[in-house]
Structure formats: structure tokens, C-alpha cells
């Protein structure tokens, strides 16, 4: 015991209860934020999905024909849902946590007894909530244009959850390092969007030349989209085991990194 630490007379707090209620509070706060600004959080992805379905379904899709043995719209629907999940999980956390840093209200949590891992988990869960809400809205839009067969529900749920967690944590890291609003949008614009469009959302990588296929397999989003697509259609360009191992590893590495950075106070403490 250090020289200043005397025997505490104050009864110890129940840290388990504090952590659980604290986690719930962060998630509720994030959910309230998503709902409060629904015009910015929910609607845009649904509108974009409608445009994709109209263009690729009614206008171009008929000329493309079948892909992977399925009608083109049916083939791209899981990819479009996953694209919305990825971008929204990421952008929810990056904007919310950076906003908290910028407005200094992150201090509300930093002075509280919540450990770093609960704060990271709470924000990640908030990102997952938005990813799922938007994913559901895009799914509803999809059903207007095509029918979705469910091949394996567990694969669908596992793939969407792991992908959402991974990108929510990615958004958290982006927010930790960001020093201004420009840096909040760099990664989504210059990394996330290209990787998503080249991640097999609109096509099967088997259509690509050999070198491009090899390069595509290095894109983690290709594995996520294909795992999710397998859950609906039962077809995939990637090995399912590899895809899930990659998603689990990515989520664990990102979570650990985020917690370590929070503990160090990177970007939030002097």
C-alpha cells in the first residue's frame, strides 16, 4: 500500500453493477442520438439503396443477367445491406466519439468509474445498433425490389454482427486519432469506400483476372460481404472459415488496441 493510501472507510462500490449500468447508459445515449437525428443516420442509406436497386435492377441489371447463379438484384442485395452496415457502424462511432472529444463531454465518462473497456464496448455497441437499424431498413428496401432467400440464419447474424463490431471499433480508433473534422472523413472517403466498392458488393471476384482476384482476397470486406451473402444465397467467393477467423481476429485486435489507447489517454488525456 502506498504511503497515501489508508484503509478505505468508504464501502467499496459494486464495480460489476457500475460497469453494466454504465455500458447500458452509453448504448441508450447512442441509440437516442441515432433516433434524434434519424434524417442523418437512418434515411440516407435507405435512399441510396433505393437508387442502387433502381439503377442496377430496373435499368442495368436486366442486361447483366445472372451472377453466381442468381438474378443480379438478388446477388447484390446482401452486399448492399452489408455496405450500409459497414459505413454506418463506422461513421456512427467516429462522429459520436470525436464529437464527444471535440465538445469535451467525453470527460463525463473519463471522470466516472467506468473502465476504458466499458467505454469502448459501449461506443462499439452503439455503432452496432446503428449498423443493424440501417441494415434492417436497407433489407426492407431490398424486399420491395427482390426476394431474399435465407440459406443459413446463423451465418447471416454472425457475419453482420462481427462486421458491424469490427467497423464500429475501426471508427472508434479513427476518432481517437482524429484532431479535426477533416480527419474524421479521411478514412471513410479514401479507404472504406474504395474497399467496399472493390469488396465484391456488385460482382463476383471470379469475373476478375487472376492478379486482381489475388489482390481482392487481401481486402477484408470481400470476406465479410461473401460470408453474409452465403447466409442468404448459399454461394461465396471465399472460404467461410477464413472469413469468420478474419472477422473475429480483426474485432479482437481492434478492441484491444482501442482499450490500450484509452488507457494511455491517447488523444483524450494530456
Amino acid at each position: 500500500m502506498s504511503s497515501v493510501a489508508q484503509q478505505a472507510l468508504v464501502p467499496p462500490i459494486n464495480l460489476g453493477v457500475v460497469r453494466w449500468i454504465g455500458f447500458q447508459t452509453i448504448v441508450i445515449r447512442e441509440y437516442s442520438r441515432i433516433i434524434r437525428i434519424w434524417g442523418q443516420t437512418i434515411v440516407p442509406s435507405a435512399v441510396t439503396a433505393i437508387l442502387y436497386f433502381v439503377i442496377f435492377g430496373s435499368l442495368i441489371g436486366r442486361r447483366i443477367g445472372a451472377m453466381g447463379g442468381f438474378e443480379y438484384l438478388q446477388y447484390i442485395a446482401p452486399g448492399l445491406i452489408m455496405m450500409a452496415v459497414i459505413t454506418n457502424s463506422y461513421s456512427n462511432v467516429v462522429s459520436s466519439f470525436f464529437g464527444a472529444k471535440f465538445g469535451k463531454h467525453v470527460e463525463e465518462m473519463l471522470v466516472s468509474p467506468l473502465p476504458s473497456w466499458v467505454i469502448v464496448a459501449g461506443y462499439a455497441a452503439g455503432g452496432v445498433v446503428r449498423g443493424l437499424l440501417v441494415g434492417f431498413s436497407v433489407t426492407v428496401v431490398s424486399l420491395v425490389f427482390t426476394h431474399l432467400h435465407v440459406h443459413h440464419v446463423v451465418v447471416i447474424v454472425a457475419a453482420v454482427l462481427l462486421t458491424s463490431i469490427t467497423f464500429a471499433l475501426g471508427g472508434f480508433l479513427n476518432a481517437v486519432f482524429a484532431k479535426n473534422f477533416d480527419q474524421v472523413s479521411w478514412i471513410p472517403t479514401f479507404v472504406l469506400t474504395p474497399l467496399t466498392y472493390l469488396g465484391g458488393v456488385f460482382y463476383s471476384v471470379t469475373l476478375l483476372p487472376g492478379w486482381a482476384q489475388t489482390l481482392s482476397y487481401a481486402n477484408p470486406i470481400l470476406h465479410m460481404v461473401n460470408a453474409f451473402r452465403f447466409g442468404f444465397l448459399g454461394v461465396s467467393d471465399v472460404n467461410l472459415g477464413v472469413a469468420f477467423a478474419l472477422m473475429i481476429a480483426a474485432a479482437l485486435v481492434l478492441f484491444t488496441t482501442a482499450v490500450v489507447l484509452m488507457e494511455r489517454g491517447t488523444g483524450i488525456r494530456e
Partner: protein
């Protein structure tokens, strides 16, 4: 059992600034404690370390016996903090802000809602509970931060400039409120630029300057150390020169205002008696400056005069309460 114990606390920022140079401080349980110092002295850094907003470079600190290195969560659960800068989400309502804050301390939402009503009513914010916080006035924002800090009913409440920019009426009602909180057993540490506030509220005091505690005493003991006070007398009739008051330093500020410096071994009766003899009628009288301010200036400026390189204290003090002119106060009088 101390509410706060700090030993050899040091902090050096990345830019090389040494904000704390080995601070030792103890604040007793139940105390109303003033931590004073000019800007840049290290007050906010010290508070930041205790509340884990700033990483320390060295030393130890504990809150109610919980070491911040080993029992940080338990230590933080004991603390409520009202920071110097507004730091709540301007796009949330006061009710949401305080209920969420309780949640971060593990308070169930049903209990949090009851406490929100209690504290928002006590701080006269209940009718604003569902308005966007960015629309609140400056004083309301300050009160909201106090309500937020009280939601988990902390044993140690740290108020870092809680009344900055608040008008005098609200400031005094806030004083009454924090006095009640202290009377109910909550230890309070107050930093303020309004020295009148510290003198009125606090029982013990530490003065920090240039990263070190330069004074730590009971408020009453510290004030007793003040050897002289300057009184400002408003006169009925105009004078053309300061009257001859042997043994006193006096100065005619204008034709109706006389300043007289009175030491501890002198008394006001003697002055009035002499003025009466000279046919000078005094209409009213007031202390020229707050007594604590006098001591503060001497301590802080004394260190500066001793050759240490530091920013002057004066520009950082603000408000009518600290509008003083030490040079005139000490030496500008006419000895008669």
C-alpha cells in the same frame, strides 16, 4: 481518514512545462477547502490528475483511502467534479445529461430520474429540463454542471471555478447551496478567482503557485496573519489635503475620499477620534480590499519578487472583488 491525500505529485507536459513540482496536500473529510493560485499555478492540473483527466508524471494520490493507481474506479466513484469549462453535450437536454451521468456511476435509471428532479429543482433548472442545453444562460450552464456532479452523491465535490461568469445574485445562491451540501457531510474543494468566495465559504486553504504549495493553513489563522488593512472613508465635506494623522499612513484619493492604513496594534476608534477633533465627518467606511486577497497577493507576488521566473499574478485575477492596486495600497500613502 482524509478525503484527499497527495504526496510528491509531479506533472511535466510534453512541451516541457512543469505544471506540478512535487505537491503535498491533505484535505480532511468534511472540510470546505480552498485551493487558490494564479492561472498556470497548477490548480487545474492537480484536479485533473485526481479525476484522471490528466496523467501524472510522478507521486501518489488517494481519495478516501483509495489509491488512484491501484483503485482508480473506487476512487473516482467518490468524486464529483464541476470543471472550469462547460463540458456537457450542448445538443442534449439538462434532464438527459444528469440522468446519463448518474448511469456512468452505476445509478439505476429509476433512481437517477428521482435525483434529477431533486437536483434540477434545487438548482432552479427544472423548468428547463427538456430544453436544449445550448440555449441555457451562462449561469444555468454552471448550475447544470453542479447538478450533474451531484447525481451520484459524491463524498468529495471538486468545484473548479464554479461561479466564473455568474452574476452576483446567482453566485450567492450557489454559495448557499454548496454550504448546505457541505453541511450534509460532503467534502468540498473549491478553486476560485473570487477570493471573497473562498474567504466566505472555506475553513482551510492552500495556495499553489508555480507548481508548489506555498501556503497551507486554516483560513482564520491565515487571515490573522494580515498585519494591516486599508479602509476607505467617505467624507461629508471636501478636503484639499490629507489630514495629519500621526502614526497612520493616509492618502486623499479625491476631495471626499480618504484612505487610511491601519495596523493590527492600532484601532479605528483612535482614527475617528482624531478625525472628529479635526472637524472631519465620516459618512461611511469600507475595507479597500478583501483580506484574503491581500495575503494572496503578498504570497504570490512575494515569490515573484524573490527572483523566480513566473507570470505576474495580477492579470489573471478578475472581477470587482480583486480590482486592487497593490503598489498604491502599500506604498502610495502619504506619511504624516
Amino acid at each position: 481518514m482524509n478525503a484527499l491525500s497527495v504526496r510528491g505529485l509531479t506533472k511535466t507536459y510534453k512541451n516541457g512545462v512543469q505544471a506540478l513540482k512535487g505537491v503535498d496536500l491533505e484535505v480532511e473529510r468534511g472540510d470546505f477547502f480552498a485551493l487558490l493560485g494564479p492561472n498556470g499555478a497548477g490548480k487545474t492540473t492537480l484536479i485533473g490528475i485526481v479525476t484522471s483527466l490528466v496523467n501524472k508524471s510522478g507521486g501518489e494520490a488517494s481519495v478516501f483511502g483509495y489509491d488512484i493507481d491501484r483503485d482508480l474506479e473506487a476512487a473516482k466513484a467518490c468524486i464529483g467534479v464541476v470543471p472550469q469549462e462547460i463540458n456537457f453535450n450542448m445538443f442534449e437536454t439538462p434532464h438527459t445529461i444528469v440522468v446519463n451521468q448518474a448511469g456512468f456511476y452505476g445509478i439505476a435509471r429509476s433512481v437517477a430520474r428521482q435525483r434529477a428532479e431533486k437536483y434540477l429543482k434545487q438548482l432552479q433548472l427544472w423548468d428547463k429540463r427538456d430544453k436544449m442545453s445550448r440555449g441555457l444562460s451562462g449561469g444555468m450552464k454552471r448550475r447544470l454542471m453542479i447538478a450533474r456532479a451531484l447525481m451520484h452523491e459524491p463524498r468529495l465535490l471538486i468545484l473548479d471555478e464554479p461561479t466564473a461568469g455568474v452574476d452576483i445574485e446567482i453566485r450567492r445562491s450557489m454559495w448557499e447551496f454548496v454550504r448546505e451540501i457541505n453541511a450534509r457531510g460532503t467534502t468540498i474543494i473549491l478553486t476560485t478567482h473570487y477570493l471573497e468566495e473562498a474567504e466566505t465559504l472555506c475553513r482551510n486553504i492552500a495556495i499553489i503557485d508555480d507548481g508548489r504549495i506555498v501556503e497551507r493553513d486554516r483560513m482564520s489563522s491565515l487571515l490573522r496573519r494580515l498585519h494591516t488593512e486599508t479602509f476607505v472613508l467617505n467624507l461629508r465635506n471636501s478636503l484639499s489635503a490629507a489630514p495629519k494623522l500621526d502614526g497612520y499612513i493616509s492618502m486623499l484619493v479625491d476631495d471626499h475620499t480618504l484612505e487610511v492604513e491601519v495596523s493590527k496594534d492600532q484601532n479605528l476608534n483612535d482614527i475617528f477620534s482624531r478625525l472628529t477633533t479635526l472637524g472631519i465627518e465620516v459618512l461611511s467606511m469600507r475595507n479597500k480590499v478583501n483580506r484574503l486577497e491581500e495575503i494572496f497577493m503578498r504570497l504570490v507576488e512575494g515569490r515573484g519578487a524573490a527572483g523566480e521566473t513566473r507570470a505576474p499574478a495580477r492579470p489573471e485575477l478578475r472581477g470587482a472583488e480583486v480590482a486592487v492596486a497593490p503598489a498604491v495600497r502599500r506604498h502610495g500613502g502619504q506619511t504624516t
